[in-house]
Symmetry: C3
Subunit: 265 residues, 3 copies
């Protein structure tokens, strides 16, 4: 199975054409979409969505992530095996969370043009390189055929902002995406909050957004009244800030980059 | 075959992840999208789109409908067999039109966690419950394994507004959705209009929107001049109000909830 | 394989229902989306997207294009074999570029209702005619069964604007679409520019948008500074006008219909 994550949108032929190319090379291969509405050229948004999604696909899946503001420049394309999954993406940070977790078994610099379309444009490597490479991987071509091994320490990193402990009792992160429901998705994992607070987290936790306290850390949306703001550990196991029955980014006038703090009282 | 109807949008990983979960449990099963752009948390919109769509899928299809403002609360999840199709949805009214037509052969309260993902979040039952349950149904698990039978009279109902006869010659309904072309989709079925008027309906029928008469009831868009408003029995066999070559919701300044009347002159 | 290109959007059940109908007639057939977000009723937009896409699908694919402002009127539906691909579309110009290239081997007027759904609405031929006809073609029904042969010269043409040489050194075309990234897609093919300028095109070429010179004709986005405008031969092998790191249609205040000139200095 091949999954696709891009910022191409669904308006143009871009995504359909990638699937056509894959079908031409690997006819029976199933292709599933993770999202094609990553905010244009937003590597951070793409990284978080991919990290949230890929483990829910069967082991052996090939994940193609094309958020690629450097298309046509000298930026490298990377293919890697990690935790039983394969990834193909530009070397621009979009894979840093996945490749940085210590489970990478192999990573190569994709460079062998035998696995590309014959004619490679300067503007659409999704069609000309990423799709055919993924299809060849699905056909059983080994990673090592695609190009030479890369040193993981040479990969672009530091692009995706991570949360940090300001003190033993205070954690700071940021909003990294706004979802379809207007929820503010942060980069603060539940695991970090648990380090702050132990199991009985809800009672003693304050969540601040842009230096303004917002509501309680709750378990379900229905715990607060309609229109009230709340913080919740979302389906990605990250802290999210929501407004019950509303759109948090409108109501709270916040968005990507807004600062979030969690601390004990 | 499994179909998906949600209000999740396509921007986030939500829909892709549901398909990944299904593929992990029922690898060969085909999954088709009905829509993922139901207006957020709008059960009525979801109900009308599902009713309009499901009969066009092969008998034996499993339809998963997740418009679920009560996720994480005590609301039940229902699975039912009806007219040769299977349905899985929250008990919030989204299935009331389908289950209310007297053809339900079996309905259960989905509660057996063996058919859920191991870890169930409070915010994303689409991934953690609906997708795996549908995949297990596709694998042949009988409905009765999912939970105990439910009394149909106990299901949430009365959520979806239906049209009514104000008199023998006047029918009142409402706009329940605005489609991609700006057409105003009402809850007035052709069958009710035929009860008003018999076969020769067009000549003697007046359609009012928000107490203002709009154009004739026509058979094709091309029967009126560009820019003119019209009423037509649409592809759902419901009354729709359109503007030829334009967007009715803009031109007529109407939308969901707008009142529609049809009467004889 | 069947591909779908429509202006139906993804909000309503329209596209899902077409796939359900296909699955009912040709159960194993794969269906891929080219786009469902063609600008509503914009035949020109649809024509350019289809021309850009279809050659990337395997030979033998069946391409269904439904941008159909004349639905319900007397406009014909055409099915044609061309360059190893099959096409089904209204006779409204959307296929004129493809059928006009001299490689059509057969074209018929689709009229045999045995290949339609039993009940054909006046407003949704995508579901009632196009989808079932494509599914029957996928099942091996020959084109000639669908209806009588049509004379190509009788087809609607002249709808899609093409670029023209104003002189031996000046080419004039227009913006025909704005893509997801805000790029201005023109109808000026690389082949025409090469006729102006031979291989060493970049140095001597000026591109004007609405009579204002914009930046150089470059090979990659990274050749200009962020925020600068540029002209580039895009992935469709057509001239595109972009703003590096920005949205050209906003920055340059241009859109569909804007005039573009390319000339030698």
């Amino acid at each position: 199975m091949i999954t696709l994550l891009t910022d191409f949108g669904l308006q143009d032929e871009y995504v359909g054409v990638m699937k056509g190319v894959i079908a031409g090379i690997s006819p029976g291969e199933r292709v599933l979409d993770i999202s094609h509405q990553i905010d244009p050229q937003d590597i951070v948004h793409g990284a978080f969505v991919l990290e949230a999604a890929y483990t829910y696909f069967p082991v052996g899946s090939i994940h193609v992530a094309v958020v690629d503001p450097g298309v046509g420049s000298e930026r490298r394309i990377i293919a890697a095996a990690c935790g039983g999954h394969l990834f193909v993406a530009p070397d621009n940070g979009i894979l840093e969370g996945i490749l940085g977790d210590g489970t990478v078994s192999e990573a190569v610099h994709v460079s062998d043009a035998r696995y590309f379309l014959e004619k490679v444009s300067h503007t659409f490597h999704g069609r000309d390189i990423f799709a055919p490479v993924a299809a060849h991987l699905a056909n059983g071509v080994p990673l090592s055929n695609l190009g030479s091994a890369v040193d993981l320490s040479s990969l672009v990193s530091g692009v995706v902002p991570r949360c940090r402990f300001l003190s033993e009792i205070c954690l700071e992160g940021a909003v990294v995406a706004v979802d379809h429901f207007g929820n503010l998705m942060t980069n603060i994992p539940n695991s970090a909050i648990e380090r702050l607070a132990g199991p009985a987290i809800q009672d003693r936790m304050v969540v601040e957004l842009n230096e303004t306290p917002i509501g309680r850390l709750v378990k379900t949306y229905s715990q607060v009244a309609a229109g009230a703001s709340l913080a919740i550990i979302g389906s990605r196991r990250l802290l999210e800030i929501s407004v019950s029955g509303g759109k948090a980014h409108h109501v709270l006038k916040a968005g990507k980059g807004s600062r979030v703090r969690v601390y004990m009282t």
